[in-house]
């Protein structure tokens, strides 16, 4: 009898937990907004400012969109999630899109978030790693991305060095700057974010800018991508989203300080001072000399695809025309 009572009490407690969990979802949502998701490539940073501006200033809502900006699941699977339609939009990079398309994933780039490649290989100044000549017998800390292997192999081959002499370590979620101090010699950073962070921490870095190494490496990174099926089935959603995102980035270009404050709100784990400095550095780079934000030139896509193929880093040359489109950028 006692056992039965205890059992019933236990069951009641469990069931009430289940009921509470079920009730905690807020049902407050305006009926006329269509939901969509943008998955980031990394933790929120100044590459993403325009997205958060569009969110905060109601640009998405004005277009009838209820946008969720979500963190990535893990490096390298974002393109697969976009390709399968699990996520409508994602933040990727030209080198990832290229590899993905060669593997048959139907992803397409809609806009270049930054006109020129602001990334490069960073190392502590004290280690005196100035170019690929110094890469032998060093440790590179990255995320096991195919583009890392491709670019580093090509750079070392150009200097007649053996790529196998560069140890490749996957650093996962570790802080890159901390890793540089101790476990690794070299890593890949966006100067606008990690480089500014290093400046703030008084960490002196040597920066090998990718765009300086080879013109083919001045490619678009990051880019906003979607799947071919989204383009076929919901072009109107894409157009509306792009209008809002464009406006967001244009705002960030014109008002870096206010844009920084918006990002600070959405990246509470980061140092506000660092975000402000980063935004001031990056805002002019979003559009640079282009006519409109997000514009992509075929020659940029073609050069990188060609470079990869010529260096025998990929089995086939990607067809550039299918990999990107400007048709969803606002016409003005």
């Amino acid at each position: 009898m006692k056992t039965k009572k205890i059992f019933v009490l236990f069951l009641t407690i469990i069931l009430s937990f289940v009921a509470l969990a079920g009730c905690s979802k807020p049902a407050e949502q305006p009926e006329d907004l269509s939901e969509t998701t943008i998955m980031l490539d990394w933790a929120p940073n100044t590459n993403h400012t325009g997205l958060y501006v569009a969110l905060e200033k109601g640009y998405f809502q004005a277009e009838g969109l209820d946008v969720s900006i979500v963190n990535p699941s893990s490096q390298g699977t974002l393109e697969q999630l976009v390709a399968t339609g699990n996520v409508d939009f994602g933040i990727s990079h030209q080198e990832q899109v290229t590899t993905a398309r060669i593997s048959g994933l139907p992803v397409v780039s809609l806009a270049a978030l930054i006109q020129h490649n602001t990334s490069g290989f960073a190392s502590l100044k004290s280690k005196n790693i100035r170019s690929a000549k110094d890469f032998e017998n060093k440790v590179y800390g990255g995320w096991d991305l195919p583009s890392e292997t491709a670019i580093l192999t090509a750079l070392m081959q150009k200097e007649n060095l053996d790529f196998s002499k560069l140890e490749m370590v996957n650093i996962g979620e570790s802080d890159q700057l901390v890793a540089l101090e101790r476990d690794i010699d070299l890593t890949w950073i966006f100067y606008g974010w990690t480089g500014i962070q290093a400046e703030q921490r008084n960490q002196e870095l040597n920066m090998i800018w990718l765009k300086d190494v080879d013109p083919a490496l001045d490619y678009y990174t990051p880019v906003l991508i979607t799947s071919e099926s989204m383009i076929e089935q919901k072009p109107d959603v894409i157009e509306k989203l792009m209008k809002a995102v464009s406006a967001g980035y244009e705002f960030a270009i014109a008002n870096p300080e206010e844009a920084a404050d918006i990002l600070i709100k959405h990246a509470p784990e980061s140092d506000p001072e660092m975000i402000k400095q980063s935004q001031l550095w990056l805002s002019p780079q979003y559009k640079a000399e282009a006519d409109r934000w997000g514009e992509q030139k075929e020659v940029i896509w073609e050069s990188y695809a060609q470079w990869l193929f010529e260096n025998e880093l990929v089995p086939e040359k990607m067809e550039s025309a299918k990999a990107f489109t400007n048709e969803f950028l606002p016409k003005d």
Partner: protein, 262 residues
């Protein structure tokens, strides 16, 4: 005469499972072919087999590192587990001190601790070995502890009345009594150990099956991801089989008993 009968019986026993496996693989192959599923989404079993074969030396070189991490961690976890449980049984005061920590070792979230270990200890083998120890320690220690707690009051009283010391009781009664529980705990720990090492590798490593998985996934080579998964499962099974074999050798009376009840 008896041996032949036993072998045929064994083949007969496992045949339905093999047949089911063949049916499963055929359906998988058929579905991929019929619906034209892209290889980066779901590779056919043939492609997976191909990937396994083509990258077998690569898989092996990665597997060696993972095997080293697992074996070292597992052995250390066994030593630590036996030590701690023995101490806690012989000295009840030690049990009062350590039992809460024993429980705590299991409740600590691995996903949160592993990155910290990588942060403190770098990307070498040590943090992965510690992760394996963390995961394996609890099942081993707890099952041994339970086994050492002989609940037969009469037996203990009899021995005490004959003048047995604490140590003699431990050696003659508690330890043999505990062996079946210990081996049960070892089996559980063995199956956890492989995933522990792989998770450690995901968070920071240059070699290992976890690295093989990540690289294959990032290159959209899903057939290799499957090959990696099969290898990891095979490794887990290998460790489990080793424990089963040890059980048969060291506790023949126990393994025969459990076989008869099948």
């Amino acid at each position: 005469m008896l041996k032949k009968g036993v072998t045929i019986k064994k083949i007969f026993h496992y045949t339905p499972a093999v047949v089911f496996l063949v049916i499963l693989l055929s359906v998988w192959q058929f579905t991929v072919n019929k619906y034209g599923i892209p290889p980066w989404l779901l590779p056919s079993p043939m492609k997976v087999g191909q990937a396994l074969w083509e990258t077998k030396s690569l898989i092996w070189s990665h597997a060696q590192i993972t095997l080293l991490e697992i074996s070292t961690g597992f052995v250390l976890a066994i030593i630590l587990g036996i030590l701690v449980s023995t101490l806690m049984t012989l000295f009840p005061f030690a049990k009062r001190i350590f039992y809460p920590f024993l429980i705590f070792s299991q409740t600590v979230p691995l996903i949160a601790v592993a990155p910290l270990l990588i942060l403190w200890l770098g990307y070498g083998l040590l943090p992965k070995i510690i992760i394996v120890i963390l995961v394996c320690f609890f099942p081993i220690a707890v099952s041994l502890l339970e086994g050492l707690e002989v609940s037969d009051r009469d037996l203990l009283n009899l021995l005490r009345s004959m003048g047995a010391t604490k140590w003699q009781i431990f050696y003659q009664v508690r330890w043999p009594h505990a062996l079946p529980s210990l081996f049960a705990g070892l089996k559980i720990a063995a199956t956890y150990s492989v995933m522990a090492a792989v998770i450690g590798e995901w968070l920071g490593a240059s070699q290992g099956l976890g690295v093989y998985l990540t690289r294959s996934s990032n290159n959209f080579l899903t057939d290799r991801v499957f090959a990696g998964i099969i290898t990891i499962s095979a490794l887990s099974f290998l460790y489990y089989a080793v424990i089963m074999l040890l059980t048969k050798l060291l506790l023949p009376w126990y393994s025969q008993l459990s076989q008869k009840t099948d």
